[in-house]
C-alpha cells in the first residue's frame, strides 16, 4: 500500500481535489464580475443549465461530433491495421510514417486543417478544383452542416494512428489456427474477416472505443483554433460552452456545473462501453 501512496497523493492533489472543488464551486453563484457576493445556491446552477436551450444544442453537437470521430477513427484504423497486417515491401516504412499524425500537436493539427479548408487559398479547394469536382471555391468552414464534420475529420486524422496500432497488436494476437481451421471449412476471405478477425479484435475495439470516446466528448483544442464555436452555434460543444461560460462570461458557478456534468457523463459512458463490449469474455 505504501508503494501506491505517491501516485495517489499526487493524483489526489492534482485531479481529485480539483473535481471536488469544481463540484463545490458549482453550488455557489459565483460571477467574477461581482467578486464579493457569492451566495450558496445549492443545485440552482444545475437546474439553470438543464433549462438552458444552449446547453442542449451543445449536447447535440458534442454527440454528433463524438459519434462521427469515434466511428471514423475506428473505421480508418481498421483499414490501416488490416493493411499493416499483410506482408508487402514498404510495410515497415508505412507503419513508421503512421506515427507522424499521432505526434503532431493538436494545435498544429488545427491550424493545418484550417489552412487546408481555407476558402480562398486552401489546398482542399485547390485540389477539388484541379480534379474538376467543384466549379467554384467553397467556404468550407462557413457551412453549419459541414463544419462539425470537417472538425471531426481533422480529429480523425490525428487519432487514427494510435487506434490503428492498438488494433494491429490485437490482430497479431489472433491465433493462426483459427484462420487455418476456417479455411479448411471453406470460409471465404470475407467470411474469415467477419467470423475470425472481427470477434478477435474485441478487446482492441473496446480500448479504441473507450479511449476515443473519452477524448472526443471533451475535445477542445480543435474548436478553439478552427471555429471558436461558430459559425452560429454549429460547433458549440459542451467543452466550448464550459470555456465561454467560465472565461468569457466569468460565471464560474454554472461553468463548474457543466464541467461536473461532463465528467459524470464521460465516466458513465466509458463504464457503459466497458460493460457492453467487455462482457462474456
Amino acid at each position: 500500500m505504501l508503494l501506491v501512496l505517491p501516485v495517489m497523493a499526487v493524483l489526489a492533489i492534482v485531479a481529485v481535489y480539483p473535481i471536488v472543488h469544481s463540484f463545490y464551486t458549482s453550488l455557489y453563484d459565483i460571477v467574477l464580475t461581482r467578486p464579493h457576493r457569492a451566495p450558496f445556491v445549492g443545485l440552482a446552477n444545475y437546474i439553470a443549465v438543464f433549462d438552458d436551450a444552449r446547453f442542449w444544442v451543445a449536447v447535440r453537437r458534442t454527440t454528433v461530433y463524438t459519434i462521427v470521430s469515434v466511428v471514423g477513427t475506428a473505421g480508418l484504423a481498421l483499414v490501416f491495421a488490416l493493411l499493416l497486417n499483410e506482408v508487402f515491401p514498404g510495410r515497415r516504412l508505412l507503419s513508421i510514417i503512421l506515427l507522424i499524425p499521432w505526434a503532431t500537436p493538436s494545435i498544429v493539427n488545427g491550424l493545418m486543417w484550417k489552412w487546408i479548408y481555407d476558402p480562398s487559398y486552401g489546398s482542399l479547394n485547390g485540389l477539388l478544383d484541379r480534379l474538376g469536382l467543384i466549379d467554384r471555391y467553397q467556404l468550407w468552414l462557413a457551412d453549419p452542416d459541414m463544419t462539425l464534420l470537417l472538425v471531426a475529420q481533422a480529429a480523425i486524422w490525428k487519432q487514427m494512428p494510435l487506434a490503428a496500432i492498438l488494433l494491429l497488436v490485437t490482430m497479431k494476437a489472433i491465433p493462426d489456427d483459427l484462420y487455418r481451421a476456417a479455411k479448411v471449412d471453406g470460409a471465404t476471405v470475407l467470411q474469415r474477416f467477419l467470423h475470425v478477425t472481427i470477434p478477435g479484435l474485441r478487446s482492441g475495439f473496446l480500448l479504441v472505443f473507450v479511449y476515443e470516446t473519452m477524448i472526443s466528448i471533451r475535445h477542445f483544442d480543435l474548436f478553439a483554433i478552427m471555429t471558436q464555436g461558430g459559425p452560429g452555434d454549429a460547433t458549440f460543444t459542451v467543452s466550448w460552452m464550459i470555456y465561454t461560460e467560465t472565461f468569457n462570461s466569468l460565471r464560474f458557478g454554472t461553468g463548474s456545473a457543466i464541467a461536473f456534468i461532463l465528467s459524470m457523463a464521460t465516466f458513465a459512458l466509458s463504464y457503459a462501453l466497458i460493460r457492453l463490449l467487455g462482457k462474456d469474455r
Binding site: M1, L3, V4, P6, V7, M8, V10, L11, I13, V14, A15, V16, Y17, P18, H21, S22, T25, F80, L83, F88, L94, S95, I96, I97, I100, A103, P105, I107, V108, L111, W115, S120, Y121, S123, G126, R130, W157, P161, L162, I165, V169, T170, K172, S203, G204, I217, R218, F220, D221, A224, S239, I242, Y243, T246, A259, L262, S263, T266, F267, R281
Partner: protein, 303 residues
C-alpha cells in the same frame, strides 16, 4: 494462390497503401511547402502545390530573430500588397520551445518516479485495496481537462503560481500519470513472476526487486511512458492557456495559437511556426517507434 489472385492482392495493397499514405502525408506536405513559399505566391490563384522559389526567411526569422527584427515600421516600408510580414512575436517561438522542453522533461521524469512503485505494487503485490487503487487511478483520467482547468486556475492563483512553468509541470502530472501507471502495470504483469519470486525468496525487499528486476526488464515500457508523458505535455493546450500569461511560462501551442488569431500574420509564417512545433515530437516518435508499439502491445493484447 493462383497468379490472378496474387495480382489482385498486390493491386489492392498498393492502392490502399498509397491512399493512406496520401491521407497521412498530404496535409503535412502542404504545411511544409506553405512554410517555404512566399506569401504573395501563397495567396495567388490557382493554388500551387509546389513552391516556385522556396525561401527559408520564416525560419531565419524564428531562429535568428536578433538579426531580422520586424517592427511596425519595417512592415510599413515593405510592400504591403506582398504581405511579406513576419510578426515581431516570432522571437517568442524559441523561448516558448525552451519552456515546452523544460516542462516536458520534468513531467516525463516525475511520471516515471511516481508511477514505478505504484505499478509494481499493483502488478505484483496482492494487497487488499489493489483493485480499488487501480480503479481510482484510472478514473481520474475521466475528468475532462477543461474541468480541471478552472479549479487548478483558482488554486494556482491563490498560490501565486500563475504563469510559472512549475504550475504547468504539476498540472500535467494529473493528465499523464494515470496513463503511465496503466502502461507500466500491463508491462510488469507480462514479466514472468519466477524472477521476482526468486528474488523475494533470496531476501530482497520490494524496492530491491523493483530496482534489480523490474527496472531493467521493464525498460521498453518505461521508455514508452517517458515518451508518452513528454509528448502529452508538448501537445497540451487548454491548461496552459488558462495558467500562463507571458513568456515566463507560455509553451509552444499557446504562442502558435496567438499567431493564428493575429490576422496580420502571414499564412506562410504561421505554417513555419507549425513546422517548428511538429519536428521535435515527430523525430522523437520515429526514433523510439519500437518502444511505442512495444509499450502499447502488452496492454492491448490483454485488454
Amino acid at each position: 494462390m493462383p497468379a490472378a489472385g496474387r495480382l489482385i492482392r498486390a493491386a489492392v495493397i498498393a492502392t490502399t497503401a498509397l491512399l493512406l499514405l496520401g491521407y497521412v502525408l498530404g496535409p503535412i506536405y502542404w504545411v511544409f511547402s506553405s512554410s517555404v513559399t512566399a506569401e504573395s505566391a501563397l495567396v495567388s490563384k490557382p493554388i500551387r502545390f509546389v513552391p516556385d522559389a522556396p525561401s527559408l526567411r520564416n525560419f531565419r526569422a524564428i531562429f535568428l530573430y536578433a538579426e531580422e527584427k520586424v517592427t511596425y515600421d519595417t512592415r510599413r516600408q515593405s510592400d504591403p500588397s506582398a504581405g511579406e510580414f513576419v510578426p515581431s512575436a516570432a522571437q517568442n517561438l524559441m523561448p516558448a520551445m525552451m519552456n515546452s522542453l523544460y516542462v516536458g522533461v520534468w513531467v516525463a521524469a516525475l511520471n516515471v518516479i511516481f508511477s514505478l512503485t505504484a505499478a509494481y505494487a499493483i502488478a505484483r503485490i496482492r494487497f487488499r485495496a489493489r483493485n480499488a487503487a487501480l480503479f481510482a487511478i484510472l478514473t481520474t483520467r475521466v475528468i475532462p481537462d477543461i474541468a480541471l482547468a478552472v479549479p487548478l486556475f483558482l488554486v494556482m492563483r491563490n498560490l501565486g503560481l500563475i504563469d510559472t512553468r512549475e504550475a504547468l509541470i504539476v498540472t500535467y502530472l494529473a493528465v499523464t500519470l494515470p496513463f503511465t501507471v496503466f502502461i507500466l502495470i500491463n508491462y510488469f504483469e507480462s514479466i514472468p513472476s519466477d524472477l521476482d519470486r526468486a528474488a523475494r525468496i533470496d531476501g530482497c525487499t520490494h524496492l530491491q526487486v523493483l530496482w534489480h528486476v523490474f527496472l531493467p526488464l521493464g525498460m521498453p515500457a518505461i521508455v514508452a511512458s517517458l515518451l508518452f508523458a513528454f509528448l502529452s505535455s508538448w501537445n497540451e493546450f487548454v491548461l496552459a492557456l488558462m495558467t500562463t500569461k507571458t513568456m515566463a511560462a507560455q509553451t509552444l501551442p499557446i504562442v502558435i495559437s496567438g499567431f493564428v488569431f493575429d490576422f496580420t500574420t502571414s499564412f506562410s509564417f504561421i505554417n513555419a511556426a507549425g513546422v517548428v512545433a511538429i519536428v521535435p515530437p515527430v523525430v522523437l516518435a520515429i526514433a523510439f517507434e519500437r518502444y511505442i508499439v512495444g509499450g502499447l502491445s502488452a496492454g492491448a493484447v490483454k485488454g
